[in-house]
Amino acid sequence: MENTNNSHTLDHKTLTKSFHRWFWGALTCFSQEHMQTFGYMASMLPILRKLYPKHEDQVKAIKAYTAFFNTNPMLGTVIVGITASMEQARANGKEIDGETINDMRAGLMGPIAGIGDSLIDGTLIPILLGISLGMSSGGSPLGAIFYIVAWVLIAYFGQRFLYFRGYRFGGQAVSFLVGKQGAAVRHAIGIVGSMVVGGVLASWVNVTTSLKLYGSNGKVFLNLQDKLNSIYPGLLTVLITLFCWWLMTKKHVSAIWTMLILVVISLIGVLLGFFNPGLSY
């Protein structure tokens, strides 16, 4: 590589192209083995082509991006932006090599996956959907349209912002996640995430029992759901969730098996008259 040349700068067009490739392609060629690796390479290509005129340098440079990569594709955009700026520094002969880049990527992808999944999938999307569902009750398309517009705008401009922030500030862009304030910010975000996830569970999921015991006079003698509600509203819902959590976390049961166990529980519950979704045509 031309270590002496100090004048490689990425123009806005190249960066935008790289961003768009990530925006559209982060997971298009996903596999359980390499996950987002190819999406990442595809979005780095425009950068490498620009920075390294010689084909052989490009080939050398791409090697850094063949390492396994997976993170939350929304928040993770910032990492792509950071590597763009690191790659530029490397092209300009700064003391950065592929390993440095990969250490950064490997170090960030974990926390950002965790934060992103809980913040985007667990917090933001349920809030947006919750609002939109209310608007679409009664069969109105309003809610769906609102959701499309609101989310696509947030996602596109949000990710774009993150990409360029990553490019401009490099590692500092996420210093609030890994630097001094790191633990604090993540802890605070975790509080919001946890509380909203709890709220989502209570608002949208409602596991109930239909068990009622009748006295000799035919009157209801025990309405179990009412009793459970008087203990703690939503008790069954929260218990089933904790049970799934326990299975997966403490017993290392996979999600699929957890679901099958729920099928068994449901079947037994239905047979015993404990569960009855009250279906009818």
Binding site: L27, R49, V152, Q181, G193, V196, A202, T258, M259, F275
Partner: protein
């Protein structure tokens, strides 16, 4: 209501666009086109009954409101729910002459959604697995320095995976599914064990999604507390999610300040390094 080949093909195309690894990108594909609420809009337009489509979408969306897929762990597949489940539910509801906005229609929609959503995970893993083939092409390209081909690997070849495991199943299932659904309804009456179980499971499935999320969030046992507080606020006080978020921000700020005030201890520990450090801290 019937579904013709053209309609079935359009639905198949939309199925290619969404899901977790999809052709329209995460933001637009997975999070927008894939979600039942939007799927209901699309199916409503394609099948010519907007209101029924939306109603089915809303019913199914309720079950999958907090779908999380950390590390590609998928508990239900949005492509199957939205573009197989919704069309079939629409056919079933209108063939039964049910009121699209009624509770029975919603129940039926949910049970169809649950069924195909769970089954659809097979499609999801099939696509992801087939992508390994194109990725193996990619590794060769990288090795041989043919970087230009990487774009095709990431954006082109996966269409083949989708043609096989998104387009075809969706098209066939929606085209032939109408009869199947009717047969299913006779075979599995709503008040039968199978349907009751299915729907009970459907109601519990979001718990798995939440549990997957919790696995990420919960480190120590005290981390459950904000989760329970959020649950209590919504379950006992019926706060909506925006309000829960507002309240959570209060605690988040406190926790942030708390950590920051504690986080300064290590810095205190380095006071020996020089007074400049200290002053910097005092400025904060």
């Amino acid at each position: 209501m019937t579904i013709n080949w053209l309609q079935a093909a359009i639905l198949g195309l939309f199925a290619c666009l969404c899901s977790n690894s999809c052709m329209a990108g995460q933001a637009v594909g997975n999070y927008t086109i894939g979600r039942p609420l939007v799927g209901g809009l699309v199916c409503g337009i394609v099948l010519g009954n907007l209101q029924l489509g939306i109603a089915c979408g809303v019913a199914m969306q309720l079950v999958y409101i907090a779908l999380v897929t950390p590390g590609g762990t998928v508990s239900a597949d949005v492509r199957a729910i939205s573009y197989i489940g919704i069309p079939l539910a629409m056919v079933a509801i209108s063939s039964q002459g049910l009121n699209p906005l009624g509770g029975s229609a919603a129940n039926l929609a949910k049970s169809v959604g649950t069924l195909v959503g769970t089954v659809g995970t097979v499609l999801y893993y099939a696509v992801a697995t087939m992508n390994l083939v194109w990725q193996s092409f990619g590794w060769k390209d990288v090795h041989n320095g043919k970087l230009d081909k990487l774009t095709a690997v990431n954006f082109g070849w996966p269409w083949v995976s989708h043609a096989l495991f998104s387009f075809l199943p969706t098209m066939l299932l929606t085209y032939y599914g109408a009869t199947a659904v009717t047969a299913l309804q006779t075979a599995l009456p709503m008040d039968g064990i199978a349907m009751k179980t299915l729907f009970t499971v459907g109601g519990m499935l979001p718990c798995v999604g939440i549990a997957i999320l919790l696995r990420q969030i919960i480190g120590r046992v005290v981390d459950f507390i904000p989760f329970f507080v959020g649950f209590t606020l919504a379950a006992s006080l019926h706060l909506n999610l925006v309000s829960v978020t507002v309240v959570s921000l209060m605690f988040a700020v406190i926790v942030y300040e708390l950590e920051m005030s504690r986080g300064s201890k290590p810095t205190n520990g380095t006071t020996a390094d020089g007074p400049s450090d200290e002053n910097a801290e005092e400025d904060i």
